[in-house]
């Protein structure tokens, strides 16, 4: 078995004057679930289409299972794709839909039907073989599309925002289910979403993209706790941004002065900055807690009950945009009301990046 | 698209455009028999086409019939479409069938029918017969065009006007009709073009005195081989193209056709 299911080497794709993808490199290991996460128009679909073969790169190479497929047409790539609209063939029943890829590969009908039954069992659609796609619920269509893509045992499974057509209540359950099916099938997967919660919940690793570039590839924990740059820090999860100064670099750790407090941060993004240079510290809401020593304080604007926790939004002059947000246990937030003043203590460690404009 | 598909499409477009283009070229041929390619050029066939009495009378008849038939058909069609869309009444399906049936009955049968009907009832075969025949033939297109507009019209606007105390006749006049105007204009234009180009039925119901331009052209082609008809066709083609361009400009081609011609991606 090859060590990598998919490898992209410096892949660039242009549409006229627009460069949809700039030299993207990415590796997906066998069985791994990798998510492309980024705002609309950042090039996620383009990257997926390049891997599928619907488009060819202007520069760079694409490998599937160690073999270059850059010039191989879609139908010879052995990929499995689930489309946003599912793209189930409306004139075929579920079984015929799932068998389509096998029949296209010349598999005899009897053998194909065995594989189809197995795939439908896997996605728990057994018994619905004779239904037409329009007689299925949204979630069932989703699973039929998944079975159709998986039954050919693809080298990689490609999913382009497969949950966006479903309502919120269905999504959560299906996310878990898709992940279980994918794990059982052991298929390497590239998943596209612009929903950070979905990405954090499902992925082995996340590739965060914007403006046609891959900013960071890492596990959900890495991407959340140690964002590689300002964009990732701002896009994944909420953050309160405070202006501070670089105190010094020691090995892999930087010291940051924010007001009276000193915080630690990953040194990598700050290398090359001189001492005293302005930096921005990104503080996750759950790392802020009421009490002293106060890192920041502000007037409570709104208290939003979220079930397991409470989000407290503050007006805070020191923070970028004048806004700060803290995530507190409901107990700690019980006395808070709009208009009261809250002091918050900070964490010992945060993420920090060179300031965007000089203070 | 692969190159061979492009080539095929180009060839098919050439097939479609060829007769009109070739006719336009021949119109300028100086010789009096059809012989391609022309050796010398002249405008004399245009002159003849414009002065030949049958063509002048035919054009005049066509114009009269076209204007009367399209206006009458638009009025009748709008009334029928309104009733069919807004009202439940006995005989609704009969009315719909009667009005739409000329779509599937060959024009020569319709022509023969009106000819025999008028012959039997002893009525004269004048221009009114032609107008009646054309109204029957173009009515389905008007009804369809108006009906499509009515279906896409937001009925809540009418309800709102009624709820504000306007009587139905006033709502029809001040709310429904203005909103229907594009559909009416499209239906009228389509009716006018169909009437002006109608040939088979007109051949049956017209006489030497009431013959329309297409009938006069047909008779000419059967007797003479000179390019007068080519010249007339050239004028016709250019006029039609200008009209289509204008219609597309002001009404949108898809609306005139009564079919939403789908845009690609």
């Amino acid at each position: 078995m090859a060590v990598e299911a998919l490898r992209l080497d410096g892949v660039t794709r242009r549409f006229g004057a627009v460069t949809a993808l700039h030299g993207a490199s990415l590796v997906v290991a066998p069985g791994e679930f990798v998510t492309l996460l980024g705002p609309s128009g950042c090039g996620k679909t383009t990257l997926l289409n390049l891997v599928a073969g619907f488009q060819t790169p202007d520069e760079g190479e694409i490998f599937l299972g160690g073999e270059s497929v850059t010039r191989v047409p879609v139908w010879k790539r052995d990929i499995g794709m689930v489309f946003q609209s599912y793209a189930l063939f409306p004139h075929m029943n579920v079984a015929e839909n799932v068998a389509y890829g096998l029949r296209a590969r010349g598999m005899p009908k009897v053998e194909a039907m065995g594989r189809v039954a197995e795939a439908l069992r896997m996605v728990r659609l057994s018994g619905l073989e004779d239904r037409r796609p329009r007689q299925l619920s949204g979630g069932q269509q989703q699973r039929a599309a998944l079975a159709r893509a998986l039954v050919i045992r693809p080298r990689i499974l490609l999913l382009d925002e497969p949950f966006s057509a479903l309502d919120r209540a269905l999504r959560g359950g299906l996310q878990v289910e898709v992940r279980e099916i994918q794990r059982a099938a052991g298929v390497a997967t590239l998943f596209v979403t612009h929903d950070q919660h979905e990405a954090l919940a499902m992925s082995d690793r996340i590739a965060v993209m914007s403006g046609g570039r891959i900013h960071q590839v890492g596990t959900p924990e890495e991407v959340y706790a140690r964002p590689a740059d300002r964009f990732v820090a701002g896009f994944v999860g909420d953050a309160t941004v405070l202006r501070g100064r670089l105190r010094g670099l020691m090995g892999g750790t930087a010291g940051i002065e924010v007001g009276q407090a000193v915080l630690e941060a990953d040194a990598a993004p700050l290398r090359g900055l001189s001492q005293g240079a302005p930096v921005d510290a990104f503080l996750r809401p759950e790392t802020l807690s009421p009490g002293g020593p106060a890192l920041l304080s502000g007037e409570v604007r709104s208290v939003v009950f979220q079930g397991g926790h409470v989000d407290v939004h503050l007006a805070c002059a020191e923070a970028a945009g004048g806004r700060a947000v803290a995530r507190l246990a409901p107990m700690l937030a019980s006395g808070l009301a709009a208009g009261s003043v809250l002091e918050l203590a900070g964490p010992s460690r945060c993420a920090a990046f060179p300031a965007e404009e000089p203070a | 698209m692969s190159w061979w598909l492009r080539l095929l499409v180009l060839l098919l477009l050439a097939f479609i455009a060829m007769p009109a283009l070739v006719a336009c070229i021949v119109a300028f041929d100086a010789r009096s028999i059809l012989n391609f390619p022309p050796q010398a050029w002249s405008m004399r066939w245009f002159e003849r086409a414009m002065t030949y009495p049958d063509f002048r009378d035919g054009a005049w008849n066509s114009l009269l019939v076209m204007i009367s038939a399209s206006v009458i058909a638009t009025l009748l069609g709008a009334g029928a479409a309104l009733a069919l869309e807004k009202l439940e009444f006995r005989g609704k399906r009969t009315l719909e069938a009667l009005v739409m049936a000329p779509l599937v009955v060959p024009h020569f049968v319709v022509g023969l029918g009106f000819l025999t009907l008028f012959a039997q009832s002893g009525l004269p075969r004048g221009l009114p017969l032609l107008v009646l025949c054309h109204v029957v033939l173009v009515l389905p297109f008007v009804v369809r065009s108006v009906w499509i507009s009515l279906k896409s019209l937001d009925g809540r606007l009418e309800d709102a006007a009624l709820s504000l105390g306007a009587p139905p006749s006033r709502v029809l006049r001040q709310v429904t009709l203005p909103l229907l105007l594009p559909g009416l204009a499209g239906g009228w234009l389509f009716a006018a073009i169909l009437s002006f180009t109608e040939f088979s039925a007109s051949l049956f119901v017209s006489t030497q005195r009431t013959q329309t331009l297409p009938v006069a052209m047909y008779n000419y082609v059967r007797e003479y081989a000179d390019p007068s008809i080519a010249a007339l066709s050239a004028i016709w083609i250019v006029t039609t193209m200008l009209l289509i361009l204008a219609a597309d400009r002001w009404l949108g081609l898809s609306r005139v056709l009564g079919t939403e011609v789908p845009g690609g991606r």
Partner: protein
């Protein structure tokens, strides 16, 4: 795109709307009367030298069993079917191109070229074909220029067929394009992602899904061709005849209007049967989709 339907207006003024529909009723009844006149004539005897028909008889229908007439009926059916099939074959790539051409300008150009003939009328188009197909016409000049000799094209079935296809092509393209537009392009991509070549994807997905549009367009082409008169008359030059030409000849050359009417009635019956058969097939296909 369908708006909210209001029936309040209808309920509020049924009399007004009924009145508006009255002229259309009259017009429809005139049409029905004209058709009845044809049926009635078809059952009357022909009195030679008289325009006024004689007593009631079935002779006009019995006489149609002659091989001459049966031959024309058969030719008409073949021409209608042939035109429908050729129009579909030629129309499909054009409809496809209108939907899938990326450039807006190219798309509008194709659409404009395709629909312009729709507005030219039978005579202008047929005359164009005479100039194209004639013995010293455009195509023969082109053939001679290429050193391929000359070919008989005017007054042949092939020539009539070409001109008839030309008449039906615009409406066929419009109807096919409307049908194809409802097919999601993602389905073709899905087929390819599953290992189907573009050709296999086309034949297993796109084509079956466009079948209703194909049948509708084919039916329309069939009916339109049945109605054709000037094209077979002028391009066929008396050597290729359709029922319409026979009806005209009998009426205006022999003044045998009863027999002409009977032929027209048989023609109507033939179209009605053909169209009914086609709509049956269409319904079957639509049920399967």
């Amino acid at each position: 795109m369908a708006g909210e339907k209001s029936t309040a207006l209808g309920q509020g003024a049924p009399g007004l709307l009924r009145g508006l529909a009255l002229p259309a009723w009259l017009c429809g009844l005139a049409f029905a009367a004209a058709l009845l006149a044809v049926f009635q004539y078809a059952l009357r005897a022909h009195v030679p030298g008289e325009l006024e028909p004689g007593g009631f008889t079935l002779q006009n229908f019995v006489a149609q069993a002659h091989p001459l007439y049966i031959g024309v009926f058969w030719d008409t059916l073949l021409l209608c079917a042939g035109t429908a099939i050729l129009s579909l074959l030629a129309g499909y790539p054009l409809a496809w191109a209108i939907l899938r051409t990326r450039s807006r300008l190219a798309r509008s150009m194709i659409l404009a070229i395709v629909i312009t003939p729709l507005f030219l009328g039978e005579i202008v188009r047929t005359y164009g074909w005479i100039v194209v197909l004639g013995n010293s016409g455009f195509l023969n000049a082109a053939l001679a220029w290429l050193g391929l000799g000359r070919a008989e094209m005017l007054f042949t079935t092939g020539g009539v067929l070409a001109a008839l296809v030309h008449v039906t092509l615009p409406i066929v393209v419009i109807m096919l394009a409307a049908g194809l537009a409802h097919i999601e392009p993602e389905l073709e991509r899905a087929a390819q992602s599953l290992g189907a070549t573009p050709a296999r994807g086309f034949f297993t997905v796109t084509l079956p899904l466009s079948l209703p549009g194909i049948l509708a367009a084919g039916t329309t082409a069939f009916a339109w061709t049945f109605s054709a008169f000037a094209t077979p008359q002028l391009v066929g030059g008396g050597k290729v005849n359709m029922i319409s030409n026979l009806v005209y000849q009998l009426g205006f050359a022999s003044f045998n209007f009863p027999f002409a009417a009977a032929l027209a009635v048989s023609g109507l019956a033939l179209t009605a049967v053909s169209l009914a058969a086609l709509s049956l097939v269409t319904r079957r296909v639509e049920q399967r989709l």
